[in-house]
Amino acid sequence: MNSKLQKQLLKRSKAAKIERLGKGVSFLALMLIVLTVFAIIIFVTSKGLSTFFSNHVNVIDFLTGKNWNPNVTNAKGQPEVGALPMITGSFVVTILSALLATPFAIGTAIFMTEISPQRGARILQPVTELLVGIPSVVYGFIGLTVVVPAVRAVFGGSGFGILSGTFVLFVMILPTVTSMSVDALHSVPRYYREAALALGATQWQTIYKVVLRAATPGMLTAIVFGMARAFGEALAVQMVIGNAALLPTSLVSPASTLTSVLTTGIGNTVMGSMQNNALWSLALVLLIMSLIFNLIIRLIGRRGAITK
């Protein structure tokens, strides 16, 4: 009698087996992703560093050099791989588009959450979701046919340049920043608003002094997310920025970004060659920057969590 019970209890049941299997499968899925991420980081790092170790380019020269022409060797006998024009281009379009997008995004988010939540949910929510879903090549194409001629007509120059890149990126990151700002505003508890209104504050005072203050960490995260997206965007920017690896002299002079040089150059170089290695170094800079953006987002998130 007792031994029968013992047998039943010691035998692994079907449910327990399935549970083990489920745990195993989800752990494998997790490991696959972690391994992929590490593989990418290791690969890009080793490839990117070979410019400095195999081709003996000075890191400082790489980051501060103003001439990008990997086929030509300079007076020191080293290839001309100064990445400063591209690094500058990437940062300038990122910062300008974020500066442009932030007020629009916050305004839209306030309208959607505070002023007209019903209309916001019915009209603006689908519109922003649609904007996120449009492929970047479409944005680039519109930029090429509409923004570039418009910039040329208004600001002069060829129309290709940082300004056109900024406008295109502005439209591309706006939905990201907006929808994340909406989430940040939604997460401000209702009783904050009630507290301010019950003290006789107007709706605008409540929004400006209470809701926005409480949502600041979330808003900053939204902006940094938008910047990360702008920094990494390749195709649309490449189509409108002019792709001249020159230090930009004005907003309408042709320029380039890390990503645009990568997309135009990667198909025209031979794997393992100096020219190819130089491009990998640019990719490494991009990777490091996106890691930094991630770090900033996490730091802001933690800061916000403490003050709440």
């Binding site: 209104l197 003290l199 006789g200 504050a201 003050t307």
Partner: protein, 276 residues
């Protein structure tokens, strides 16, 4: 005898009401009065004719089971239901109907303040919490602000506990302190009437006791209307008590009257603990 109000069919029981006018037996003038107040959430009517008069410098308690409409009624009194529910009828504040659309709700809410169920200080310093509303009204003089902070915190009986840490975050205070801070914040704009929506429901007994002392002390300067789930609390601090049931004020009388010899059968059942 146990009566379930939802299942009773005795119409006379429903019509049985007893509402007094506090100005009759007390020399204080009426400061707030509702006439034919109806509140609708969409198509659902939450309040049917709550006709009550509140006298100046009195504490009036609103009691009743959950869903009886007492909180909805209270929130209508300073238009906190705007945008949430439709409020029909008149709310006369010193004779002026404040339920008209042309009333400036922000100015009105300065005179009729509210403290909520859950302590809701802003994530700012204690000082900035108190001065928030004044600064929004353009008061910038440091001396005036300092004075208001001190008097409000003293009136709310929390000054001694926080006077050395006015620049500390209000969120670092205990729940009971936060709630008294919210009262101080509400009286910083010198309102006429203070509405409190179950202010002690999130507090422990010791904090509740302090809060009740605070309210009793505030009575000489303010008119207080308080919603409470706690009948002992109503009995301890209020002068008048209104019993709400299913969206209707059924009985409104002196608190001593309500708790010793209520005139309405349902009130009697409720205060005796038969339902609710």
């Amino acid at each position: 005898m146990l009566i379930n109000p939802a299942s009773t069919h005795q119409d006379d029981l429903w019509l049985e009401r007893h509402i007094v006018d506090p100005s009759q037996d007390n020399r204080q003038p009426i400061i707030l009065e509702t006439k034919q107040l109806h509140v609708y959430y969409g198509d659902n009517e939450a309040i049917y004719e709550g006709d009550l008069k509140f006298a100046e410098h009195q504490i009036s308690a609103l009691i009743g089971p959950s869903g009886s409409g007492k909180s909805t009624f209270l929130r209508s009194l300073n238009r906190m239901n705007d945008g949430v529910a439709r409020v029909a009828g008149q709310i006369l504040y010193r004779g002026v109907d404040i339920n008209r659309p042309e009333i400036d709700v922000y100015e009105m809410r300065r005179r009729i303040g509210m403290v909520f169920q859950r302590p809701n200080p802003f994530s700012k310093s204690i000082y900035d919490n108190i001065t928030f509303a004044l600064k929004r009204r353009g008061v910038t003089d440091k001396k005036t602000l300092d004075e208001v902070v001190e008097t409000s915190l003293k009136q709310a009986a929390i000054w001694d506990e926080v006077k050395d840490q006015l620049n500390k975050s209000a969120l670092a205070l205990s729940g009971g302190q936060q709630q008294r801070l919210c009262i101080a914040r509400a009286i910083a704009v010198k309102p006429d009437i203070l509405l409190l929506d179950e202010p002690a429901s999130a507090l422990d007994p010791v904090s509740t006791g302090k809060l009740e002392e605070t309210l009793t002390a505030l009575k000489s300067n303010y008119t207080i209307i308080i919603v409470t789930h706690n009948m002992q609390q109503a009995a301890r601090i209020s002068d008048y008590t209104a019993f709400f049931n299913m969206g209707r004020a059924l009985e409104y009388d002196k608190t001593s009257q309500i708790f010793t010899s209520p005139k309405v059968q349902l009130t009697n059942n409720y205060v005796a603990g038969d339902f609710g």
